[in-house]
């Protein structure tokens, strides 16, 4: 196994995913397989190869600084699980 439970727990925390014990066991096994599989890339000589971030070679287009949006809060908040006075609610955020 190239990953252990502790590493998987760390990754799950980074990704904010709650996993059951069974899911942990399965994740350790399957993620290890995936990591082993992609590890074959390490054998490739990539000296001086520029990493490719986009399939198209183009520059960012720029948008004029115009306000085009109008308030549509009530519509957007129809999907929100908990809203009070236009605010999205979450359990208390501690600073």
């Amino acid at each position: 196994m190239s990953l252990d439970k502790e590493q998987v727990q760390h990754i799950a925390m980074l990704a904010r995913l709650n996993l059951s014990d069974e899911e942990y066991a399965e994740s350790v096994e399957k993620l290890s397989k995936i990591v082993d599989f992609v590890d074959q890339l390490s054998a490739v000589d990539t000296t001086d190869v520029v990493p490719m971030a986009h399939p198209v070679d183009a520059a960012q287009r720029l948008r004029p600084d115009d306000v085009t949006a109008t308030n549509d809060r009530d519509h957007y908040q129809q999907n929100a699980p908990e809203v009070v006075d236009g605010l999205y609610l979450v359990p208390k955020v501690l600073e």
Binding site: V67, V93, L94
Partner: protein, 479 residues
């Protein structure tokens, strides 16, 4: 044995860019709207939406880069900074990491010791602001307002070149002045449009390597920055001198208790997993573009101050005050251009009476109740002897209260200086006739009494007689 400590400070300043719309969406950026009424689908991070970069932020960052003698990157890249926080709707912030738009700039300040210092500007990068969490009035919950989410920020990162809290403030004030001069940020600190984090460490004087730093978060007034840094420096020195070690961490300044405290909650193993944002392509800037932006560069504060001293022969303190803001400098130059009086007289009025009135009413120069042309009109009436300097103050107050132009006030209140010698002579003769005792004393050699007679005449004329003329006439008559 006590060691001399050297303080090392680097600042990360966040300046909100004064665009009409957000950095990646067409939502307005105005401050103070109802919660979530200025957050569209892009700002809310709705499934399927995509960012498109606002042209204006590229111009503003370029202008800033040129103003601080930095390199403006021909190619810069937006990256995602991944972390979960309720005010960060997408679960990542679009920022710049490896290839920021501005790098290797510098700025010169006059330090507390009076010496000029070079402060390196490591980089300035574009990013989106987060929303706000609201706690008041909600029991076990926090409310999330995403109006601010997606507002463009320029994060200006200095080298650890600052050596005192005062210098840090001087540097930050200068950046504040510059962004304001460039018109790229309103710099409003109460509204959070201009705020900073400070990286603070101490080391024994002479030591090369830097001490462990603490990051002070969210300092949003010049006064707090100085206080927070000083408190933190004191804390670190005390800690080390007591045998402890400084831990690298984020600390929050509590202005009520005047202390800094650890923000452990924000610390927990942050691993931001930056990577280039696949929704945005590299920003490419041509040399022609940079030159076109350079051509629009306004005169910057240092250059303006030097020119004011040179061109208007101002005292350097006055020049510094007048160039502290571009609008004040423009106002002043408006007065100078419109008046026949000397530039120094104009400066005295702008700094003295106008400055006093603004201060008293808590207004900025843009809210001045008297325009530069109107002030020039007042200064001109002193210059051409229509009114005396003393009457002018009275006229100024009336103008401030909205009673019209200088000429209107002088006319309506009948404040025009009396220069008709026949009219003055009548009053002089009356004063002499009424005060024969003093006349005798004067004639006996008590010269100082001339002031008494002038005062009497001025009193009779309600201050409107030309004092020089009165003085001369009295001396002639009392010979």
């Amino acid at each position: 044995m006590s060691v001399a400590w050297e303080v090392v400070i680097g600042l990360e300043i966040h300046a909100q860019l004064a665009t009409k719309s957000k950095i990646f969406s067409g939502s307005p950026t105005a401050y103070g709207a109802d919660p979530n009424t200025q957050a569209n689908l892009v700002d809310l991070g709705y499934p399927g939406v995509l960012p498109v970069l606002n042209k204006e932020v590229v111009r503003m960052a370029t202008l800033f880069g040129l103003a601080v003698s930095a390199t403006v990157a021909r190619r810069s890249v937006f990256a995602r900074k991944n972390y979960f926080y309720p005010d960060l709707p997408k679960g990542y912030q679009i920022s710049q990491l490896e290839l920021p738009i501005v790098e290797h700039g510098e700025m010169h300040i006059i330090g507390v010791d009076g010496m000029e210092k070079r402060i390196g500007i490591t980089r300035a990068h574009l990013e989106e602001d987060a929303g706000k969490s609201i706690h008041e009035g909600l029991d076990a919950s926090s409310g999330i307002d995403l109006n601010r989410a997606g507002t463009p920020l320029l994060e200006i990162v200095s080298e650890p070149d600052l050596r005192s809290a005062k210098d840090a403030v001087t540097y930050m004030k200068k950046i504040h002045t510059i962004v304001h001069y460039l018109g790229i940020s309103d710099g409003n600190m109460q509204e959070g449009s201009f705020r900073c984090d400070a990286n603070v460490s101490v080391r024994p004087m002479g030591q090369k390597e830097l001490g462990t730093r603490a990051e002070l978060k969210n300092l949003n007034s010049f006064r707090y920055i100085e206080k927070a840094i000083n408190i933190e420096v004191e804390r670190q020195i005390d800690l080390i001198e007591d045998g402890g070690t400084v831990v690298q961490e984020t600390r929050l300044y509590d202005s009520d208790k005047d202390e800094t405290r650890s923000m452990r909650s924000k610390e927990e193993a942050n691993d931001y997993r930056y990577f280039p944002d696949p929704d945005l392509l590299p920003v490419e800037i041509s040399n022609e573009y940079i030159e076109a932006i350079r051509a629009t560069m306004p005169e910057l504060p240092d250059a303006k101050q030097a020119r004011f001293i040179d061109e208007y022969e101002l005292k350097s303190d006055d020049a510094a005050i007048l160039t502290a803001s571009r609008m004040l400098a423009d106002f002043y130059e408006g007065v100078v251009k419109a008046t026949d009086a000397t530039a120094q007289v104009a400066a005295n009025w702008v700094i003295g009476d106008l400055g006093g009135a603004l201060n008293r009413d808590g207004l900025g120069i843009s809210d001045s109740k008297i325009s530069s042309d109107e002030l020039a009109g007042l200064v001109d009436r002193i210059h051409d002897d229509t009114i005396s300097g003393k009457i002018a103050k009275q006229v100024f107050e009336a103008m401030w209260d909205g009673e019209g132009s200088a000429d209107d006030v002088i006319e309506s209140k009948g404040l025009k200086q009396i220069t008709d010698s026949g009219a003055i002579e009548l009053v002089v003769d009356k004063v002499i006739a009424d005060n024969l005792g003093q006349v005798a004393e004067y004639k006996a050699g008590k010269d100082k009494l001339i002031g008494f007679f002038v005062g009497k005449v001025m009193q009779e004329t309600k201050g409107q007689a030309n004092p020089g003329q009165v003085n001369q006439m009295l001396r002639d008559k009392l010979k």
